[in-house]
């Protein structure tokens, strides 16, 4: 990247300066402010920084940050990687990630769903990874049908290689716009946003899972070459060879992220046998799935921001004797509307000790009461630990499911554990 034009070099340097200033003054990790300043100096900077590299863009409603991290780990065996691992997933964050690694030939950029068409045009990536689309923070986000249409149109105009989850009808329909696609059967637990055919609106026939087809227009799930099997914890590659996943990250959602990462690594010529050991090393991603040990109790933090995410989190809860804390806020990053709590089925929590906290715990209380799940209202995690320890001194584990700012508050309370 040393042949960057002078103006772009200056822009990148100014951006980096602002970023270090931001970090030094404790305002943030600097990813956003640095990129913002650089863009002012050179509006075309993202294209210029992307030129000559083999980039992968990763987009989805859920799992973007984790999958970006998995892919980056796998690709590091090719050398230096440019990546936005702090989750700054808009163009300013991409500029920072690329400026910080001017000599990295390869890069993986988590990309906000709304920005994907723009970033696709500007960076001409080698690979675009698409995983899932579901309702999320609709007070400020785009309608997902509209989003899928924009993805599809943008992909039709590009030569990129799409690696997409065929089991999500909306994602598959978007990916079918591309000329070159690898289809992965990565599964789809949350189906409430994809009963309706993305092409014609017909009621999809979704039997047997994961197959889907539209009886009205004939749109159907593309045939896949990669597949995950959750029951056996294995992945099958295009040669029919099976590999044990054995990831440290829990649950089917991370198996889905894993198979997508393996298919992406393969597009860079990395065999699953080489990629898997690196994926298995990852224990937590930006605090997600981290365990804090406090007063001898292991508190596991699960970040979930929308109904599809909560459903996945319920599926990875430890056995029923492990209590769970649910915490919900409704600040701007969370979405100010808590209506989505009613889309989730809580009856699976019956028989488990449940605590509710967060700024919108009353919404949770009514929701649980309606599903006849007994619960206790609390203010803080340590209050729960105190109460549980006084009742059962041998308690060892608690799970916490929290949405965005509720999760950050808990992380901060325990010293921003990574």
């Amino acid at each position: 990247m040393s042949e960057l034009p002078l103006r772009a070099q200056l822009a990148a340097a100014l951006g980096k300066g602002a970023a270090s200033l931001s970090r030094a003054t404790g305002r943030g990790d600097g990813s956003v402010i640095g990129g913002r300043i650089a863009l002012k100096v050179e509006p075309d900077l993202l294209s210029k920084l992307a030129r000559g590299r083999r980039l992968t863009l990763v987009s989805a409603t859920n799992g973007k940050t984790t999958t970006t991290r998995l892919i980056a780990s796998a690709l590091r065996q090719l050398g230096e990687i440019a990546t936005n691992e702090h989750g700054a997933n808009m163009p300013t964050g991409h500029i920072t990630a690329l400026s910080n690694r001017p000599n990295a030939r390869n890069g993986v950029l988590e990309t906000d769903e709304k920005y994907l068409p723009q970033v696709l045009r500007e960076t001409a990536p080698a690979v675009v990874v698409l995983m899932n689309l579901s309702r999320d923070q609709m007070d400020r986000a785009s309608e997902i049908n509209l989003l899928a249409k924009k993805w599809r149109d943008a992909l039709a105009m590009s030569d990129t290689h799409v690696i997409a989850n065929a089991d999500d009808p909306l994602v598959a329909w978007a990916g079918l716009g591309a000329r070159n696609a690898t289809w992965v059967s990565a599964g789809q637990r949350w189906k409430e946003d994809s009963w309706c055919c993305p092409e014609c609106g017909g009621h999809l026939k979704r039997d047997p899972d994961p197959h889907w087809e539209c009886p009205e227009c004939g749109l159907r799930r593309p045939d896949t070459t990669w597949a995950v099997n959750n029951a056996t914890d294995t992945v099958t590659d295009p040669n029919g060879q099976e590999f044990r996943l054995q990831l440290h990250l829990p649950g089917d959602a991370n198996r889905a992220n894993g198979v997508i990462a393996l298919a992406t690594a393969a597009a860079y010529g990395i065999h699953p046998e080489q990629a898997l050991p690196r994926l298995r090393e990852i224990e937590s991603v930006a605090g997600r799935y981290t365990s804090i040990v406090t007063s001898g109790v292991e508190v596991r933090l699960l970040l979930s921001k929308n109904p599809a995410g909560w459903l996945e989190s319920f599926a990875v809860l430890d056995p029923p004797r492990v209590p769970v804390i649910l915490s919900v806020n409704a600040q701007i990053p969370d979405g100010k509307d808590t209506s989505w709590l009613w889309d989730v089925d809580y009856t699976v929590l019956r028989g488990r000790r449940v605590f509710v906290m967060g700024e919108r715990r009353t919404d949770l209380a009514l929701r649980l009461e309606t599903d006849e799940v007994p619960f206790e209202v609390v203010d803080r995690v340590d209050q729960v630990i105190g109460r549980l320890k006084s009742e059962q001194p041998d308690i060892t584990k608690i799970d916490v499911i929290a949405n965005y700012t509720a999760f950050q508050q808990i992380r901060t309370a325990y010293g921003r554990v990574q």
């Binding site: 309702r135 609709m138 007070d139 400020r140 309608e143 997902i144 049908n145 509209l146 409430e192 009963w195 309706c196 609106g201 017909g202 009621h203 100010k336 509307d337 808590t338 209506s339 989505w340 709590l341 009613w342 889309d343 009353t362 919404d363 209380a365 009514l366 929701r367 009461e369 309606t370 599903d371």
Partner: protein, 237 residues
Amino acid sequence: MSDTSSRLRIVWIYPDLLSTYGDQGNVLILRRRAELRGIPTETVHVHSSDAVPVEGDVYLLGGGEDRPQILAAERLRADGGLKRAAERGAAVFAVCAGYQIIGETYGDDAANPLPGVGILDVRSNRGQTRAVGEIVADVDPALGVGRITGFENHQGRTAIGPSARPLSTTVKGIGNDDATEGAYQGQILGTYLHGPALPRNPALADLLLRWRVGQIPPLQPSWGETLHEERLAAALR
């Protein structure tokens, strides 16, 4: 309740198209508040490929994105079941996109008027701005519901015709037109309070039950009442 059965029949229309954000909450709360009073219920989920049964007591319609909204309106018009049920005197509770399509006309994404199911005398079309946020409104005193609270998220604006009445007067938020919120005509009721409007307003859920079964005993206040008070206070702070 209908003569042929002692159960309150709750019909959820097109959850595959019109269930964008918490609409299931209305079904769950209506059922719960009936059952806590010893009224047995039966809930039917009608998918967009199914015929709408005409013998229901309360029909619920939720919100939806532009395209699913148009599909739902087309299918409901072709099916005819909801209109026949309304003519039989069934109660209808429709939210957001559902509210717009049970009216005479509603607007598509380019503001072209499209025909609705025509069971509520309202006409909707796209406004200049999107109405997003907490909303508070005082319900027509004739309905005995009091003040309601919810979250609105819509581009539509709605004009009420002579056969319908505004459901409420807006205290905070936009609603139909910055002055009124929702509409009703007999036992057909529409509102922009999206998602869980009934969980957040127990008195509104009880209105629907009263319409179907007559006088009902009050329930011991619980989390629904707490949430109602809490959201009112937060919205008006």
